[in-house]
Symmetry: C2
Subunit: 339 residues, 2 copies
């Protein structure tokens, strides 16, 4: 990165390698502390003898309303999920709004109601907030930041560095729905689909999973920006292992597959907003999958591959055709502002 004359580019916000570089070169050195160095989507810290987590996420999605949801629902679910992926119980949320002058009050109200309902249904209240307005042309409708805190129950230890050879890789359901749903209503996109976003809060599913196989889940991660490909590569790097994924086992809706074929997209790179990846000891995987199938958000859960030794930390894909290719981590993203 050229820190003297360089500029921020769209790829720096995509959840791919370019963003990882931006974090490594600018933010991690500037903020350096033991919590940030954990390298997870949520920070774990002690508060009077207990373990808590905190997370934050800004949402800049375009368009603001899409099949299956809106920016508000996405923001609430996204932050609940970042907390849940640490194995923690989400407790309280904050909401910060940056609104462009001229934004319709009716749309703002619609988004606020959607956030309130999503938070209420999940049992995680929005307890504090902030509102800023900038001149017309200085933002894009509305941007929403949600931060959240949660409590990590005693005995739960999930981390991306725990996966070992032989562990199994599980995904909780069909991949790519959110990416295709948003894409289908982007200006200039000339296709239609019935696919709706999968945006959903995953904390109840996580609780059921942990209860089903206590101590046997190594780590959880939600494949949002960057999709399944980015999350698998991140985990392989963090755990210093490789992975062998079987393409035929990766659940995907036929409509999403068709849209990807039509658009030339790889579904492994598409964003998801209500799915998780779990890595689990092999002896517990059947029990875990059964527990997931009992939860509405885990009904399509499937074992998609296993952890292998690989000094290059590559994610291999056994294709339906029978060959093997490497699942690469995109430098940027297929499309910006997907969440």
């Amino acid at each position: 990165m050229d820190l003297v004359n360089g500029k921020v580019e769209l790829v720096h916000g995509s959840g791919g390698r370019a963003m990882a570089e931006l974090l490594q070169e600018i933010f991690f050195p500037a903020f350096d502390n033991e919590y940030l160095r954990q390298g997870n989507d949520q920070a774990l810290f002690p508060v009077s003898g207990k373990r808590m987590v905190m997370t934050t996420d800004s949402h800049v999605i375009s368009p603001l309303f899409f099949p299956g949801g809106d920016i508000g629902k996405l923001a609430v679910n996204g932050t609940i999920n970042d907390i849940a992926m640490g194995g923690a119980v989400p407790l309280y949320l904050s909401a910060g709004f940056i609104i462009e002058e001229g934004f319709p009050l009716a749309d703002l109200q619609k988004i606020a109601i959607s956030m309130g309902e999503t938070a209420k249904n999940a049992g995680v209240p929005i307890v504090t907030g902030d509102t800023k307005v900038v001149e017309k042309g200085k933002a894009d409708g509305v941007f929403i930041n949600t931060a959240g805190v949660g409590m990590l129950p005693d005995g739960i230890e999930l981390s991306g560095n725990k996966p070992r050879k032989g562990d199994l890789v599980i995904v909780s359901g069909n991949i790519g729905d959110h990416g295709i749903a948003v894409l289908s209503c982007r200006k200039g996109m000339d296709f239609s689909t019935n696919v709706i976003s999968d945006t959903a809060p995953l904390h109840q599913l996580v609780r059921a999973m942990i209860a089903a196989v206590p101590g046997k889940i190594k780590c959880l991660r939600d494949p949002t920006r960057g999709g399944l490909a980015a999350v698998l590569n991140e985990l392989a790097l963090q755990a210093k292992v490789g992975m062998m994924i079987k393409e035929k086992n990766v659940p995907i809706l036929p409509e999403v597959k068709a849209a990807c074929d039509f658009l030339g997209f790889d579904p492994l790179n598409l964003a998801n907003e209500g799915k998780l990846v779990a890595i689990c000891s092999p002896e517990s995987s059947d029990t875990l999958i059964r527990a997931m199938h009992h939860n509405p958000l885990g009904r399509q859960a499937a074992i998609i591959g296993e952890i292998i030794d690989d000094e290059n930390n590559l994610v291999h894909l056994e294709t339906i055709a029978g060959g093997v290719r490497i699942i690469d981590w995109l430098y940027g993203d297929q499309l910006p502002r997907i969440c």
Copy 2:
């Protein structure tokens, strides 16, 4: 408010009456819960038998760099202060960045380093973060959200509804510095000044104040957007009292007074980023003021007035000329994007 055809205007983000209307009509009904109903800048909630607070603030200041600080320093101090105003000890911060494509990496690094140093000096680490990038023309350089959590020590009970007749109103130092400092470097403003922003973390001052007069401080508030006038009016309404403020006792730098005279601004409406208002029982005020004078951030602390009975909850100002006028709460703000 016209929730059918109305639009968000700049005044809705100004911290004045228009923003209060937006919150009352849209956000409070949509998010309704007991924590939000507390109506403070930070939410107080129980976590395993202890009391914690959470707050959030988005920063959209223009320009990003100003005399005495930058958007990063402002964001860290602002969130520390919102926690401290509840009497709580700030513990951990999150940081969410929304960056406009094309923003110089060098400026981003400068802001990140400033945030890291401010957080380190305050002893409150930034433990988690998020980065989004939007297309050129869809934001304005960089917007930063900071959220924070803190712990409220046992026995501390501050609330805007506690002030009673006879209590004294204290301000921790000169008012209006931040507003004038930012204004002086706005494009199109044709004046220069030596005034620098007062941005500073107030948590150590607050700790010293509480230790000096345990149980005697009724409430604390930082007069940011909307200035001293907005905070005094908010507190009068919340406590269902009136106030009598003596203009000659309100500390203000001669340069700030001169700039206000020149620009036609009322210093009571100018933003502050390192000042607080305290309301205190009269018998403890001397001890409190002495303790404040011992802290570098409270050296100019002064008693500026007292709580009176007033069924209209008005804030009266005894002017230097000897008359009395009402300090009104602006509908909007003198200038947008001051923090």
